[in-house]
Symmetry: C2
Subunit: 345 residues, 2 copies
């Protein structure tokens, strides 16, 4: 038989079309008994709402919002590009995306932005931000207004966000660890870890995953304390030079965050290019070039195109209260080396 329609449900449940409509769209004024009668008919016939027709009738344009940190480096820029492209493609599907910014590290400004949004006609929001108490309250406020919120890139488990789109930093760190061990090979050695800051959750979790694998599978390798660069190339170079002076058995460098260009320059100046196994995170134009140039051996990343499309799909699903295809929305931890770099983008 063809797909059942609302009329079939009405007949099956022995009620009128209007009642079926009331039940399906959560409109008030239906006895509990009637509601369940309709729901049973839906279950019996296996009715699935035709979203194409529903959206056509609704004439609804989903106003989605993505909130990103301002000036937080190339990764966020790349993400923003991906989101814009995904939004372009989704325009056919009645989904508009507005991208807003907040001053990085200023969670109060972010909270204010979200409070603004909560007052507007927004169908859903995706937020990329570190987890803070202020943010948690802001997200709660949005959700209480009925606006679905999903966490982007880094999770916000303490809030009741509807979904998290991104990869598990801990597992990404483990992946980097296993790769490092394999690339460095047998025999003793030391690994330098470099991060802009160890305050951020992602960096902490990556490092934890990395250490776990190193300790368990490559005990002959010693991971030195993380060098913090605070986003400064100069500081990176100083710290690295200093460390290399005292550590004589360094065989690998693990870049937990940004700093690929500074690292490549520093190694070149020291005449050490190609001497260490270098592993980093996040595929951006910088790291892409570094892979091609041989300055990095591998990048552990997530596909931002996928992430962006997934974000929009999930926002829509939440707005529609439609189930999510978990397999499709699962972001994989990708390993990128020179040879499996996808062309362009």
């Amino acid at each position: 038989m063809a797909r059942p329609t609302v009329n079939d449900i009405a007949r099956e449940a022995g009620v009128s079309l209007a009642t079926v409509d009331r039940v399906l769209n959560d409109r008030p004024g239906v006895k509990a008994k009637t509601v369940s009668a309709v729901q049973e008919a839906v279950a019996r016939l296996g009715y699935v709402r035709d979203m194409a027709a529903a959206n056509l009738a609704r004439q609804r344009h989903y106003q989605m919002v993505a909130v990103l940190p301002q000036g937080a480096g190339q990764f966020v820029e790349t993400l923003e590009t991906a989101l814009r492209e995904a939004a372009q493609a989704a325009a056919t599907a009645r989904t508009d995306l507005r991208i807003l910014h907040y001053p990085a590290e200023d969670s109060h400004a972010l909270a204010a932005r979200l409070a603004q949004l909560a007052e507007q006609d927004v169908a859903g929001a995706a937020v990329m931000a570190p987890e803070t108490p202020v943010l948690r309250d802001a997200v709660k406020a949005m959700k209480s207004k009925g606006i679905p919120v999903i966490a982007l890139v880094s999770d916000l488990p303490s809030t009741d966000r509807d979904h998290f789109v991104g990869i598990d930093s801990h597992a990404a760190g483990r992946t980097a660890g296993l790769l490092m061990g394999r690339f460095v090979g047998p025999g003793p050695g030391q690994i330098i870890a470099i991060a802009p800051s160890m305050q951020l959750r992602d960096a902490i979790e990556r490092r934890r995953g990395f250490d776990e694998v190193m300790l368990a599978d490559f005990p002959q390798l010693e991971v030195l304390p993380t060098l913090e660069t605070h986003g400064s190339g100069v500081q990176l170079r100083q710290a690295l030079t200093e460390r290399l002076r005292h550590a004589s058995q360094v065989r690998g460098i693990y870049l937990l965050g940004s700093g690929h260009r500074a690292l490549a320059a520093a190694l070149a100046d020291l005449g050490l290019t190609g001497r260490f196994a270098v592993i980093g995170h996040e595929l951006t134009p910088h790291t892409r070039r570094a892979l091609l140039a041989g300055h990095i051996d591998a990048v552990v990343t997530q596909n931002l195109g996928h992430l962006a499309r997934s974000t929009l799909r999930i926002l829509r699903a939440k707005a529609d209260r439609t189930p999510i295809d978990a397999a499709q929305e699962l972001l994989r931890i990708e390993i990128v080396i020179r040879e499996n770099l996808s062309p362009e983008q």
Copy 2:
């Protein structure tokens, strides 16, 4: 302004709705001058047909078909599962997928199957098969009937297939090569390559890519002639034992095709488990287990879930004559190691 509709086009072009409809749907009986007037109006207003509404009105159900080899091992089974799942999810989008089989290696049987399909009401077909002259003609016949055909997993460039969904075997081989070189590390050594058969295009291309990288980047490593197993575990074990007897510096094993279980068993019997860097292709339940058990170090693969969803989307796009989102449909060459294995699938 909101999206223009057919009515806007009619007004803009100064013609009636009926004429716009005739033009948009290639119906006869319109003067060439009028046709171009409508087309210009479409271009001016940037009209894009609302496919959701169009399909609703058409009451159209896309009958898609996937044609796969019968009994060709776990990879095809995994692919089939992925296709079925994708089809389930796509059922909401008026897309049905029928999966047909043909006896592996029998391209005449395949051609007969396709000829049958060409007579039926099929909106599109995805074919996984090695390229043969018979197949080429069969595909041509389908296309001349107006049925879009896309090549699955392995490309059919000599046919005029509408699209190829899969990864570049040559690049996949290069990726495996670079990984092998890195895993084995510096110093001389030998690499054993094993394939069910070197007749198949994919195996040939993988081997070529693998060799290129080995020669260019790891000249100290010697890749020995490919051992052919013809799908037999016994033969694999014999050939491997024989080879290991004569090659004393083996440090890595490259599995171009199937045979993961047989290899693991053979190595275990010889007491050599864990002694070589082992790299294979295609993530299946077997290779997944082998990765977890440490019998394989890395798998170069494509995401079959993505491949399946992509296949359906592209079939629909071809049937609708709608443009394709290249970025979304690009299949990446994935590297999977123990740590970035996605849970279950």
